[in-house]
């Protein structure tokens, strides 16, 4: 397994570290992978506006794991990735994990350095991606989209839910391909790539803006409040085996009134606190069942149900299927 962990807020630093790890030489920030790891390249470029962009285009010749560890310094990564998966891949964002088998995952999404992020994939995966590193202050200042100060944290909070991962369509593909074309003779190479990266960003942010507004995220919520609510959400779902924490306890931890907490929680996560808790609880049950390691009864116990028929009913209500259909014991 090839694994690489990082916390960098600078891609040029990161590519140097990666080159040192692989014992290869960089040329103008192009890194050609050694065959035993992957076939293809990874490159980093800095746009005239100061944004770091990385471009990857390769086929992995080994099982692989890339992990960005959470960082106190806040910045965003806007990812446009196309992963053609021969066996399987897990995409982890904070505590959420998405698993895909034998398919092409082609998505655009934004992650925040406040959460862990990783790809864990098998040999034979083809990985094409254009990623843009965006410092927190950048969006408002240079792009003039101050509105996002409030909307982005809420968006980030939604993490890997299908809501935030936008499938790549023809328009995105075209732009990505144009960026990846290795045309050294282009009369204006910088401007060409810069313009397409700008367009990728414009399109992505226009679309999340319209969708997040649709999702009724109140734009008058304060940034700090959203982060508080993110912390509360973690507390709420860290353990399902006992009784859930009371609203009183949560609002004490948040130093907010319970009315305010309930309101902001719902705006950010789209559901009232306990409904959200229950949904996550059932998702957890689904994950445990599909891992094939536990019986339905064991799973019920792990997530705090002593009565099996209560569990079965609750599970059916959320997942529209019987728990036994989820268990994967073959």
């Amino acid at each position: 397994m090839f694994s690489f962990e990082y916390t960098h807020s600078s891609y040029s630093q990161m590519i140097e570290d990666l080159a040192a790890r692989l014992n290869v030489r960089l040329k103008d920030n192009w890194l050609f992978f050694p065959e035993e790891i992957a076939s293809g390249y990874y490159r980093v470029l800095q746009l005239p506006n100061g944004l770091d962009v990385n471009i990857i285009n390769c086929r992995m010749n080994r099982d692989w794991f890339v992990h960005r560890k959470r960082d106190e310094e806040e910045y965003y990564t806007l990812r446009f990735d196309e992963l053609t998966v021969e066996k399987d891949i897990s995409i982890g964002i904070d505590t959420d994990v998405v698993e895909k088998k034998k398919e092409t995952v082609a998505v655009a999404y934004l992650t925040s350095s406040l959460f862990d992020w990783y790809y864990l994939g098998t040999k034979g995966t083809t990985f094409k991606g254009v990623n843009i590193l965006i410092p927190k202050q950048w969006l408002g200042k240079l792009m003039g989209i101050e509105l996002f100060d409030d909307i982005l944290p809420a968006y980030i909070a939604l993490k890997s839910r299908s809501f935030t991962m936008e499938p790549l369509d023809k328009v995105y593909y075209e732009l990505m391909n144009e960026i990846m074309q290795e045309d050294h003779d282009s009369p204006l190479p910088q401007l060409y790539i810069h313009n397409r990266v700008q367009l990728l960003m414009e399109r992505f942010f226009t679309r999340i803006h319209s969708r997040v507004s649709l999702a009724d995220v109140q734009s008058n919520i304060k940034h700090d409040d959203i982060y508080t609510v993110l912390k509360i959400e973690k507390l709420l779902i860290e353990n399902f085996s006992g009784k859930p924490r009371s609203i009183e306890e949560l609002s004490r931890k948040a130093t907010m009134s319970s009315t305010k907490l309930k309101k902001i929680f719902k705006s950010v996560f789209g559901l009232p606190i306990y409904e959200y808790y229950q949904q996550k609880r059932m998702q957890r049950a689904g994950e445990l069942l599909s891992s094939g390691k536990y019986s339905v009864k064991q799973v019920a116990e792990k997530i705090g149900y002593s009565n099996m028929s209560n569990f079965t009913n609750a599970f059916k209500k959320h997942m529209k299927q019987d728990p036994s259909a989820f268990s994967n014991t073959d």
Binding site: P48, G144, P187, L188, L191, N195, F205
Partner: protein
């Protein structure tokens, strides 16, 4: 007559202009006083550091713009659409010229190597996007800059100050988006900057392509007055897609050309037939409206004058290979 000194630093220029007109500058925006005209001048700094002025002015007074020779080389690139009132007169290094056409919709290039002035008469309506391209920027960004001495030496852009190179459909689409994007759109600033950056890219790539063509192929000889008429026709065509386009007979009557002369001349300059040009721009407009994410396919179809949605979908697919619902 108001006399304005042009500078190669737009930030300073707009500050001076604001002071001259006793107006305040807010976020780079100067709203003009009625004594000068109706409209605005907006300073824009592009993400790559280039300075741009975007303006839309209905002149109430004759204005003379002057630029003296500068020791540093820089280029002034202008995209404009102007409805002229009376003729527009120019002087370059002491030589006077005049543009007597009613309309200009095109690209012009000039440089600091010459001393230039021009007079815009009251009643003129102008939309312009001006770039300052410094020598340093050109050297760093154009792989081919060394191959030519200055941008102006290119045949295609010789004399474009008096006779602009007409817009092509790509220019036209980008140009219109700069002026038509809703100011309240949360991404307004970014969209404007991106369109301006693409105008520049399109201009420079075209320049590069044409540089390698033999002289004479690119430059199409045509009478100035006719070129002005064609630019007017082009502007009329793309103005409002919710209405059916004017007939060719009607357009010919407006220009005073015969139908066949108009068709041939249009094709020569714009490389496509009149309706083909109209339809192409209409579909581009559809695409950009859909890309904003603010309208449904139906709304876009209606805005572009399609009462039958399946006709719209088919036309769109013909142009881009995908259905509008997949944008």
């Amino acid at each position: 007559m108001i006399v304005i000194e042009l500078k190669h630093n737009y930030k300073e220029y707009i500050q001076d202009l604001a002071a001259l007109l006793h107006k305040e500058l807010k976020n780079g925006l100067l709203v003009l006083p009625p004594s000068f005209g109706e409209g605005y001048v907006q300073f824009v700094e592009l993400p790559n550091g280039l300075e741009v002025l975007v303006s839309e002015i209905n002149f109430h007074e004759d204005v003379m713009y002057k630029r003296s020779k500068s020791p540093a080389y820089f280029c002034n690139l202008t995209f404009n659409e102007i409805q002229l009132s009376g003729s527009m007169s120019f002087t370059r290094d002491g030589v006077s010229m005049e543009d007597k056409s009613d309309y200009r919709a095109g690209v012009a290039l000039s440089s600091s190597l010459s001393e230039t002035s021009f007079v815009v008469k009251a009643g003129t309506k102008a939309k312009t996007i001006n770039f300052i391209l410094t020598e340093e920027w050109l050297k760093n960004n154009l792989n081919f800059f060394e191959e030519m001495h200055t941008l102006e030496e290119l045949t295609l852009y010789k004399n474009t100050l008096t006779h602009p190179e007409p817009f092509d459909s790509q220019n036209r689409i980008l140009f219109d988006e700069v002026f038509h994007t809703d100011r309240n759109h949360p991404m307004h600033k970014m969209i404007i900057k991106n369109r301006i950056m693409f105008l520049l890219e399109h201009f420079l790539s075209k320049l590069f392509r044409n540089m390698n063509k033999p002289i004479g192929v690119v430059h199409k000889k045509m009478k100035d007055a006719d070129l002005g008429k064609l630019m007017e026709v082009e502007t009329i065509l793309v103005k409002d897609f919710s209405q059916p386009p004017p007939t060719i007979v009607n357009l010919a009557a407006r220009t005073g050309m015969s139908v066949s002369k108009l068709k041939t001349a249009f094709k020569k300059v714009y490389n496509s037939g009149i309706y083909e040009y109209y339809q192409k721009n209409r579909m581009q407009k559809a695409r950009s409206l859909l890309l904003t994410g603010q309208y449904t396919v139906k709304e876009v179809g209606l805005q572009l004058g399609y009462t039958n949605l399946s006709n719209f979908s088919l036309a769109f697919k013909k142009e881009f290979g995908i259905l509008p619902s997949h944008v």
